[in-house]
Amino acid sequence: MSTATTTRATPATSSLASSTKFRTFAITFAVVGSLTYLVCLFFNWPLFTFHPATNRIILGWEAARSGEGPNMTWYGWTAMALLVGSVVGFLATLLPESMTRKIPLSLVWLVPILAVPYLAWDLRQWWFHP
């Protein structure tokens, strides 16, 4: 059986995959989106709050109301990360390539790895609940 390297592929043929603007957008979106999610989590800044028992959606954060079940902010944090990541990613494509090339690729995977200890700390109420 011939088992040559399989991770190499032929050069990208789709316009998106060969676009330097998409490269800039994708890398910026990954880094800014991840960081935005963590910041929103820290400060509890959801784009909106969802109340599943009543199907109410409120812009920003709103506490659970008495008799109306719990509130959900995860959708709002995720939406905020997608929105801010998209906007900043788009703005980054307007910058000269000489500048955007300087964004370290390692941030794409380093930010999620570094987020793990922060997330563990953020969830400490569950680990140490009496």
């Binding site: 059986m1 011939s2 088992t3 040559a4 390297t5 399989t6 991770t7 190499r8 592929a9 032929t10 050069p11 990208a12 789709s14 998106l16 995959a17 060969s18 998409f22 490269r23 957008f25 994708a26 890398i27 979106f29 990954a30 989106g33 991840s34 999610y37 989590l41 969802f50 599943p52 028992a53 079940g69 719990p70 959900m72 995860w74 959708y75 944090w77 995720t78 990360a81 997608l82 990541g85 690729l105 390692s106 794409v108 995977w109 380093l110 999620p112 790895i113 987020a115 793990v116 997330l119 563990a120 953020d122 969830l123 109420q125 569950w126 680990w127 609940h129």
Partner: protein, 163 residues
Amino acid sequence: MQISVNTYWTILLLIHLLLAVALLGSLTHQAVSVAMPVRKAAGPGGFVTRFRAVPAAGYATAVCILWVLTFIMGSYIYTKYRIYIRIPIEQAGHWKTQGFFDFKEHVVSIGLVLLPAYWYFWKNAHNPEYDTARKMTTIVLAVTCWFAFLVGHVLNNTRGFGS
């Protein structure tokens, strides 16, 4: 034909599970192929060699689509989970189980925003500039997927729909 509410949510949960299984398989193949690439001609390979000797670049688009579909399905189920599963779990005092679920929701959201970059790295797999980023992003997504899968499984064992 009418189905009960529990059956409805159980079917959705099973679809979520099946999508996750497909995603897990794709990402695991890909992660192993970049972490331990088969670089030279060899004799008849064993299971592990064949497992990592896949055309990994061809999985990238499927992984992105599967991640998004699994995410959307999980997000929809989450509305029901929040009331009918989470509250009883908290009442039963399964604090760490709940903590791991929250961990899962955070890491899958972060995984979601990595997808465009991950796709780009794989579509440019001929370019050595992206080798490390492609390898590490794939491994991060694969570990995330395994973690989310196992947490979801344990959570369903703790209290599933209809229990």
